[in-house]
């Protein structure tokens, strides 16, 4: 069975966050993610989408964040692409939460996304743009 991805293209503007959160939960629902887990899925994806808008696209509403998702029998795969070209190694070891860092007002998005989604991978598209892959297992 071929799984066809659905693509969501979002301008980098905070106004899209609320519809995005609801859309991601709708996607989860259609893949039969348990009601109780939907908000964790949406938190994880919204964290990564916010990063894409902010760090990848510098909050320029003309720049697009593309979230494509494919619902496989055992998982949903989300690809979150922005128009930047991040060096993904920077994501490794990024983990605030010790000593003084605990009081930073930011720097928790990736940590939260990784914890809620179990699998979050930073990389680049074939064209060299930042791509984050999030896998949400289904049971």
């Amino acid at each position: 069975m071929t799984v066809y991805p659905i693509e969501l293209r979002l301008p980098s503007d905070v106004s899209v966050l609320e519809p995005l959160q609801l859309i991601i939960e709708a996607v989860g629902k259609s893949a039969e993610v348990e009601e109780n887990d939907l908000s964790q899925l949406s938190v994880a994806v919204v964290e990564l989408a916010k990063n894409a808008m902010e760090h990848g696209n510098k909050n320029d509403p003309e720049k697009i964040v593309t979230i494509s998702f494919s619902i496989f029998p055992n998982r949903i795969r989300f690809l979150i692409d922005d128009e930047g070209s991040w060096e993904p190694e920077k994501a490794l070891g990024f983990n605030p939460g010790e000593g003084k860092e605990l009081l930073l007002t930011r720097g928790r998005g990736v940590l939260i996304a990784r914890n809620l989604a179990k699998w979050v991978e930073f990389g680049l598209t074939p064209e060299g743009k930042t791509r984050v892959t999030l896998i949400w297992p289904l049971n």
């Binding site: 905070v14 106004s15 966050l17 609320e18 959160q21 908000s39 964790q40 949406s42 938190v43 919204v46 964290e47 916010k50 605030p96 939460g97 010790e98 605990l102 009081l103 930073l104 007002t105 930011r106 928790r108 998005g109 940590l111 939260i112 914890n115 809620l116």
Partner: protein
């Protein structure tokens, strides 16, 4: 998101409700803490019981409130975090710097100690 404020004794109880998702709304919350300090109300209890959705942006504002209030000699404490929000405090280890309560009276009393 909605913000409700109410004095209980010398503690300002700030209740958030709805989605805490980002944008200009978050600035409002930040301002609530700043204004509290300006008005010498630096004991603040933040009621999260009716927050239906929150991510790291919300945590960022809460941490900033903590810093603002602590510097002024006060404190920010947390009331009724839902199971999911509590989980965010654990993941981010913020649980180690925030006192959290599930009983309002107990929370209010804690400021007097």
């Amino acid at each position: 998101m909605h913000i409700k404020q109410e004095m209980k004794g010398d503690v300002l109880v700030v209740a958030l409700s709805g989605k805490v998702i980002g944008g200009p709304e978050l600035m409002e919350v930040k301002e609530v803490f700043q204004k509290a300090v300006d008005q010498d109300k630096n004991k603040v209890l933040l009621n999260l019981g009716k927050v239906s959705w929150m991510d790291s942006s919300g945590l960022g504002v809460i941490v900033s409130g903590h810093t603002t209030l602590s510097r002024a000699g006060g404190a920010l404490r947390i009331l009724n975090a839902t199971k999911k929000i509590h989980e965010l405090f654990i993941i981010t280890k913020l649980i180690t710097i925030f006192e959290t309560f599930t009983d309002e009276k107990e929370a209010l009393d804690s400021f007097g100690e």
